[in-house]
Symmetry: C2
Subunit: 512 residues, 2 copies
């Protein structure tokens, strides 16, 4: 999930100094409108240590009219607070209607810290998250506008900051301790964000490497969200009784809101794939043979332990999915795998929920099931071509996560691949297919049409990875301009994943 | 919660035979409309053993056109099913669009049975319920109409049936076992129902003592729910894009739908209070003195253990709340209690969520807090007088349950009292107040106005008890026509509750 907040997005000094005064004026205007509309606004400022949360809070206080802003930092809980139910302290901190409350740290901090330091178990953590979801629902039902920011830094950047930032180290003596447990925090935070990321209270995960990018993203999201709510509020006042459904926030709001300011602010996750990688034929042949042998052994082990594996393949047209799958299954005994090619749904399938056709094929224990295209069609082709209305594909991210989480809880290994090629390479392959007789069936009008929507697809892939790449069901972005690189990468990833699960613990799945 | 399904509601033979043919004709019509609208309908048939679930399923198959009905019973899971994630078997059983699926037993059965027999712990149970809520959300988001029936029998009636019903005993050899664990099942079921009872998939808890009442209630609810969904569906087709908010189902649907057929089908929970009870002055004085002494000892014990107690008083005007509270606090050291009278909210309170004013007064550990009127104003006076719009008070039941559950989890004892008097007794007291000079301040125009809405208030009280009487925060309905009976009942209930918590386990709260 955090992959999409490690892209090195930034904003130039010039673009920032041009945008800031405009933004501030707009924020002051909207703050007045909020006061008139008499709705409370709650802004949660959270994220990893060292991500400049304090600066964001100071900045918001600078941009906004301080008279309507209530800033509240949650330090360690007091005696007073500990003698009451946990949410008492959060109720105390809520802003009244018409005001903006900035909460530095929030109801998320304690559950995340407790669980990351293993002082609470997975089910206690889940219970705490349910309480949070209920609380946020209650606030939103009452008309509050809830805006949740999560600021992210990669491990390396966090380490850098630790060395430099003496001031923050004094403010938070635990910073070094937190940094040491970076990956535990990352995993626990991912879970917290995923489980509480819903339509009425979405999370905004923002890369905090470049403060200019971070600050403009915060400002623009704030502005856009408040504007959207005020519009809906006014429409309700005009139309009378019936409450309207609120328009959704863009899935990657910072990207869409900042793209015009600086192209570097709009990088997608696909920009991280190094397409220049190549592999010589000889090295390739040796490596692929070794990997196939290794995979054969591993899949028999998985069979003996009754561990299922689900491999999902998505990618651009002509990215080489078919060839990669053939090399992969050469390393698996034919009795142990099944390849499922997802074409148009049957009549019977169309009469059911779109996930029904995937549930019906969930294999019994001990097998490898390979999906050539998958349930991700919902958030790729169906989104881009408009086959599914926006609320349907928006909802699908969560539905897919729930589905894969159920597979994971049942002990199924889930690994997803996106095969990435450049538009130039795709064009070369299309043309090659047109002139090579036995390859002509492979190229259709549809392929050319999809190609015309490269950017829309790239955005859909970016959102898909952002929303559905989880620790238990990760996406691997495969550099596929060179087919040899692609095939080796895929085989190696599958082997490593199986080894990690089968090898160390002796148990089919890591405890969840 | 189940108190409201133990009222002896029934339908006369005559009323039933008049209503049934009409109902069947309407059901067949609506089934055709469902087929045309191409939406799937999922009916869950669940409840305690012996409650005639099989007969309901047979009846629905008789009433409806069998060609569009898919009945599915969940027996013990097969090998096939156990080797896949738990929900695989439920996905298999879903009806296609346009059809009606009747699920005999459902995704609730296994989690409830596992937890009632202590084979899963509280957090595993909560996790299972979260999965269920996600699944139901997914179905409803996809356009399915989900109707959930829970059939209830009191313990005595279940025992009766066990003796008589040889046929069912053969069908379910575990019936005797389940009956033996009646109270464990009751508690676990209550929790399951409460946590999954939401707007898009509400539960209908139906008393199953009288089959005629049970069957007509099922038929009418089915009809009313389908009609409501079809109307919304059609409105959407007409108005174009924007999906509309669906009108809610009545809180006690059977009551509202069957009231015209037979007054005995419309009994409220207040009908169970025996108002003829009396107590002589001498016996009263002795008893009250003993109880006050007992309470003094208990509240000091609670103080030592840092256990908080919250007592809530609601009741008709002139039911004697004030007097009862005075007798109660005579039994508590003045340093240990606080009485909070809930009047109109302050400006500061009005600028917040309605629960904020109650959260702010949550006491520190070791005290007794007595609320003379409370957060229940939301679902009583605000509902009846229209001060809160329907969605607001409808939502409040769940919000209040969450609030009280947080108190309970923090170790607070919560006990709620409703003081019940007859309209005749109220009139007598009003008149007495008008002629007694020092009591005149106690009677206002508002009291007379409220009296004029006796039936609306009675319905609101009924729904309140139905939705918010839980094991950890129960309602006690107090017979208050005789003030002496009322005061003794209240003191005794408080003593017994404190003893139960402080006495046996040595721990402040039962494990949850």
């Amino acid at each position: 999930m955090f992959e999409t907040a490690e892209l090195g997005r930034h904003i130039s000094k010039k673009a920032f100094s041009e945008a800031e005064p405009v933004l501030q004026t707009q924020l002051l205007q909207i703050q007045r409108a909020i006061r008139e509309a008499n709705v409370p606004v709650i802004i949660l400022v959270s994220g990893v240590e060292g991500a400049g949360k304090g600066e964001v809070v100071n900045l918001l206080n600078k941009w906004l009219d301080a008279r309507g802003v209530h800033t509240h930092a949650f330090w360690d809980s007091s005696d007073e607070e500990r003698e009451r139910p946990r949410f008492w302290r959060y109720w105390r901190a809520l802003p009244p209607r018409g005001a903006i409350g900035i909460l530095f740290g929030s109801w998320y901090t304690e559950p995340i810290v407790e669980h990351a330091f293993a002082r609470s178990d997975a089910t206690q953590f889940e219970h705490a998250l349910r309480r949070i979801a209920e609380f946020e629902q209650l606030l939103v039902d009452d008309g509050a506008i809830l805006i949740k920011f999560w600021f992210h830094l990669s491990k390396d950047v966090q380490q850098e900051r630790l060395k430099l930032d003496v001031g923050e180290r004094i403010a938070s003596p635990q910073l070094a301790l937190y940094a040491k447990h970076y990956s535990a925090f990352r995993e626990v935070s991912e879970r917290a964000i995923r489980q509480t990321d819903c339509g009425h209270a979405p999370w905004h995960v923002i890369e905090a490497t470049d403060p200019r990018y971070q600050h403009l993203a915060v400002g623009r999201i704030l502005l856009e969200t408040l504007q959207r709510h005020l519009d809906a509020h006014r429409a309700e006042l005009v139309s009378g009784a019936e409450p309207m459904l609120l328009k959704e926030s863009p899935p990657d709001a910072p990207r869409e809101l900042l793209a015009t300011l600086d192209p570097d602010a709009a990088r997608t996750v696909l920009s991280t794939v190094d397409l220049s990688q190549t592999l010589e034929q000889e090295a390739y042949e040796a490596e692929i043979a070794a990997l196939q042998l290794r995979l054969k052994r591993l899949t028999w082990q998985a069979r003996a332990r009754k561990v299922n594996t689900v491999l999902v393949f998505e990618g651009w047209d002509a990215a080489g999915k078919g060839g990669a799958i053939r090399r992969l299954v050469s390393g698996i005994d034919a009795r142990l795998f099944r390849v499922i090619s997802i074409a148009a749904p049957t009549d019977e399938e169309k009469a059911q929920h779109y996930l029904w056709r995937f549930w019906r094929h969930v294999p019994r224990a001990g097998f490898v099931t390979i999906y050539d295209r998958s349930w991700y069609g919902r958030v790729l082709v169906e989104r881009v071509e408009g086959f599914a209305p926006r609320p349907d594909w928006e909802r699908a991210y969560q539905e897919i996560n729930d589905f894969e989480e159920q597979l994971h809880e049942h002990g199924v290994i889930v690994q997803k691949f996106w095969l990435q090629i450049s538009p130039e390479e795709q064009l070369r392959r299309f043309k090659e297919r047109e002139v090579t007789e036995w390859k002509q069936y492979k190229i259709t009008d549809e392929d050319w049409r999809n190609r015309g929507r490269w950017q829309a697809y790239e955005e859909a892939v970016h959102d898909m990875v952002s929303r559905t790449s989880t620790r238990s069901a990760p996406w691997k972005l495969v550099s596929a301009n060179d087919k040899r690189v692609s095939r080796v990468t895929i085989l190696r990833t599958v082997c490593e994943r199986l080894e990690a699960v089968l090898g160390q613990t002796g148990k089919p799945v890591e405890s969840n």
